[in-house]
């Protein structure tokens, strides 16, 4: 699994042309490639995993505001009995879009932001395996997100929004009960998002499996890398299942198929099975990245290695497998039969075990550590405590008789908000604070960060804590209003106040971003240094913000937490002492001889084509056909794009951008003989004489 030391290969040898018959070379390219790394165009056409990561994060925060506004409308409507803020029909659209937005357009892309930005850095690679595909994933995601969100506006305010809940149970979402275009937006939008996530999953899996820096064996990878890798595998296998379900629903609605036509003998359970076979792994897709982030933050601020690294990884893998065997606990009341109920009860209780392992390992990491309660650490501890509450209420769902009482009540709403908000979202926000200096070169304000954290945490508990009580009192989820004599008024009011407190906390986060950026600029943009938190992963071993080429040279990794062990050693008496200053170890980003993939027009063009096809399927098949033709043209444009642009400025003199990105500064890398015909023949670069692996 580890590569042999390639740096000892003599550059002269590796630059020789490959043996075999010479092939007449004709470039495939018909278009030029975009150039430059400044200005807004460079963002539209970028294939840099770091910029793509930042764009994912920005888009996710935008959709977070949309989804958050929807949440506030829900809470306003439910604040008092007989609420009349929004009508029942609109309410259906609002809660559906809130769920869909938060799951597919906020948590998943935020996790994708961290995956894109950090995975290549943490494994010591130059970029992801397929940079152009990576850009395509983002634009495809954005197309799906915009299509889905536009459903709020088209044809009137929430007239065509999906209104069947985020799990869109068919046949309730058939044309008969849901005649607006809403569910079409849902089906098409989620398929587009599925394509984006699938492409991204393939890309990131190949990156982690194939592009680790020398010495980075699987069990030297950081836990975040592991959790993100497991997440990508879950996406890889879960997405096609919901794709099938969405196709069937779309065929039913648009072309009169019978998959969910009960009159024709269809069984409504089909949708539930297909959806939840996707849906339960999806839960782990949402939470595992946050687990990974917490596993990075807690060791750093406890100044201790992660307790039980192998157990942490193994429990993540176990969750990844067991996540496939628990889906029917979402269906205990749907009549799946006593045997299924019993089996899925047991498996659901079992999956709490690896999750509990993680909680205990985080606690053990903190135990007797030198704790520093910075903002990221507060968020991480927040995840550990809040997720534990959500996890425990989850175990109560595993007990089928109890679940039968809780199904479709606010108890469920409370549970999944404790795991998804209290777990995933708090973890991702902690990640923002933690890696912000790495991505932008300055820290967010600690004072505002801590204040924002506490406001968010308190608001969160006031919002969702009371929902446990409401649920046990029997308040159904998804009802637009309730009567005054049902006894729900008090806690609903508390929850509504809590929701607005959360909104204040979120506003404080954005204010923090603004203030910190402004202060940093006013202070003359001081350099925060490569390693502001005294952390452990390879991403801290290069300059902040990360230079375009990531690392100046390959890192030879010799153990887990390689960077930490370069910084610290033990003296004779066994005390941990500083071995070398960070400035000596970290790369300063001065190597400009690194091959980088050229930017490309085609990812965003392809994203636009997909948007066209999406609207076409919903509104007019001729438009879809035109979009398809456009799309196919764009795919061929992509293929025929010149790999090597002789006029390219700077160090964008690369050839094929789908080449490996792990060859930073390495002469036998993509400029080498193994390159395709054009790059090998057009090779003009001097072989670099530096030793690529001076490390270790």
């Amino acid at each position: 699994m580890t590569v042999t030391d390639r740096t000892i290969t003599a550059p002269e040898e590796t630059l020789a042309l490959p043996a075999g018959p010479a092939i007449a070379h004709r470039p495939l390219g018909i278009f030029t490639r975009p150039q430059g790394s400044e200005g807004w165009r460079s963002w539209l056409f970028t294939v840099d995993h770091k910029r793509i990561g930042i764009m994912y994060g920005a888009a996710a925060l935008f959709f977070f505001l949309v989804g958050g506004a929807e949440a506030l409308f829900i809470r306003l409507q439910l604040a008092t009995p007989n609420g009349s803020v929004i009508g029942a029909g609109t309410y259906n659209g609002v809660f559906t879009m809130h769920g869909v937005t938060m799951v597919f357009l906020v948590i998943m892309p935020m996790a994708a932001a961290f995956a894109n930005y950090l995975l290549p850095l943490q494994v010591g690679a130059r970029d992801v395996a397929f940079p152009r595909l990576n850009a395509f994933s983002f634009w495809c995601f954005l197309a799906g997100g915009l299509l889905l969100t536009s459903s709020i506006l088209v044809g009137g305010w929430f007239q065509n929004a999906p209104d069947g809940g985020w799990f869109a149970y068919a046949p309730n979402t058939g044309l008969l009960f849901s005649p607006s275009k809403g569910i079409d937006f849902y089906a098409v939008g989620l398929q587009i998002l599925g394509i984006a996530s699938l492409v991204s999953a393939i890309n990131l899996i190949v990156t982690v499996l194939n592009m680790r820096t020398p010495g980075m064996s699987f069990f030297r990878m950081p836990v975040l890398t592991w959790m993100l890798l497991i997440t990508q595998f879950l996406l890889l296998f879960a997405l096609p299942v919901i794709t099938v379900a969405l196709f069937l629903l779309m065929f039913d609605r648009l072309w009169d198929a019978n998959f969910f036509n009960v009159e024709a003998g269809a069984d409504p359970l089909l949708w539930q099975h297909l959806f939840w076979i996707f849906g339960h792994p999806e839960v782990y897709i949402l939470i595992l990245p946050a687990f990974g982030i917490v596993s990075e933050i807690i060791p750093t601020f406890s100044r201790k290695p992660l307790f039980g690294y192998h157990f942490m990884v193994a429990s993540g893998i176990a969750i990844g497998f067991m996540g496939w065997g628990v889906w029917a606990h979402h269906m205990f009341t749907s009549g799946v039969g006593p045997l299924s109920v019993a089996a899925f009860s047991v498996s659901t209780m079992f999956i709490a075990v690896p999750t509990g392992v993680k909680i205990l390992n985080w606690l053990a990491t903190m135990y007797r550590g030198r704790l520093r309660f910075t903002t990221p650490m507060l968020y991480a501890v927040g995840v550990v405590s809040m997720f534990t509450i959500g996890g425990l209420s989850g175990v109560t769902h595993a007990i089928a008789p109890s679940d039968t009482q809780q199904t479709d009540t606010y108890y469920i709403v409370a549970h999944f908000h404790y795991v998804i908000f209290g777990g995933a979202l708090l973890g991702l926000f902690g990640g923002f604070y933690y890696w912000w200096p790495k991505a932008f070169g300055y820290k967010l304000s600690e004072a505002w960060g801590k204040a924002s954290f506490w406001v968010m945490l308190i608001g969160f508990n006031f919002t969702f804590g009371p929902m446990h009580i409401l649920g046990l009192q029997g308040m159904s989820r998804r009802i637009a209003t309730y009567r005054a004599d049902e006894g729900f008024a008090l806690w609903n009011m508390v929850a509504t106040i809590g929701a607005f407190v959360i909104a204040v906390g979120v506003a404080m986060f954005f204010w923090n971003v603004y203030v910190s950026t402004r202060n940093w600029r006013r202070a003359g943009r001081p350099d925060v240094g490569p390693d502001p938190w005294d952390a452990r992963g390879l991403e801290w071993m290069t300059a902040s913000p990360v230079p375009e080429h990531n690392f100046d040279e390959d890192i030879q990794v010799d153990r887990l937490d390689h960077f930490w062990h370069r910084k610290y050693g033990k003296d004779e008496s066994g005390r941990v002492v500083r071995a070398a200053p960070t400035s000596e170890i970290a790369h300063d980003g001065s190597n400009t001889n690194v091959h980088l993939p050229s930017p490309s027009y085609w990812p965003i063009v392809l994203g636009g084509g997909i948007l066209l096809v999406g609207y076409g399927i919903i509104y007019n098949l001729w438009l879809a056909a035109a979009g398809l033709v456009f799309l196919i043209g764009a795919i061929y444009g992509w293929i025929l794009e010149p790999a090597d642009d002789p006029d390219a400025a700077g160090h964008h003199d690369d050839h094929h951008d789908d080449d490996d990105g792990d060859d930073h500064g390495d002469p036998d890398g993509n400029g080498g003989p193994s390159g395709n015909g054009e790059s090998a023949s057009a090779e003009t670069e001097e072989p670099e004489t530096e030793e690529a692996a001076t490390v270790g």
Partner: protein, 205 residues
């Protein structure tokens, strides 16, 4: 993502280019993608099996429309295309560009024959009263086999793209791996058809 596979260049044919696993990125990506495809067809096949019996006594069912000898022949044609695909891969690995073009063309032609057979079959079934919207069996049957046919069609487009590349002199032995990767896709689609043919046509109805 498969459609852009021809653009991938075989950086790794000479074994000098290092990846952590030793497999090239492109080939690994195709394997990973095919893993995902298994679940896609798994979902569709499950849907078919779940629904095929859900028809009324007087409805058009599998026994009324299936022509097993005809489909057997077209299945055989598709399976033979896997053999010719192997020849295409081996010829380009040997540097036999002319042979490569011949085998790519043959593979695409066999695939096209299969798709043509499917089109014929769909037309025949339709005229016998089985439409996409007729009943659950019809919906499930056309969805499953239609998805498979679409996969074969995409495969044919990729093979033809390879052929055009070859004609333009851009497909030499250094790109043998591109052919091999498309071959992986092609074999996968064939294997899926074996499963579909068995489950849809040969299982007792």
């Amino acid at each position: 993502m498969t459609a852009e596979a021809p653009a991938h260049t075989p950086e790794h044919h000479d074994g000098e280019h290092h990846t952590s696993t030793g497999l090239s990125n492109e080939k690994l990506a195709m394997w990973v993608f095919l893993g995902s495809e298994c679940l896609l067809f798994g979902g569709l096949i499950s849907t078919y099996m779940f629904n095929k019996g859900r028809i009324g006594p007087d409805d058009v069912g599998p026994n009324d429309v299936f022509d097993i000898p005809f489909t057997s022949v077209s299945s055989f044609v598709l399976l033979m295309s896997s053999l010719t695909m192997v020849f295409a891969v081996s010829s380009i690995a040997r540097g036999d560009l002319r042979g490569n073009r011949i085998w790519l063309t043959t593979t695409a032609a066999l695939g096209a024959t299969f798709v043509a057979g499917q089109v014929y079959e769909f037309t025949a079934f339709y005229s016998e009263g089985l439409g996409f919207t007729t009943n659950l069996f019809g919906s499930a049957f056309y969805a499953l086999t239609g998805f498979h046919g679409a996969h074969v069609t995409i495969g044919i487009v990729m093979l033809m793209s390879l052929l055009v590349m070859s004609m333009r002199g851009n497909l030499g032995p250094e790109r043998a791996e591109t052919v091999e990767i498309i071959g992986l896709y092609w074999h996968f689609v064939d294997i899926v058809w074996i499963v579909i043919f068995t489950i849809v046509y040969l299982f007792p109805q």
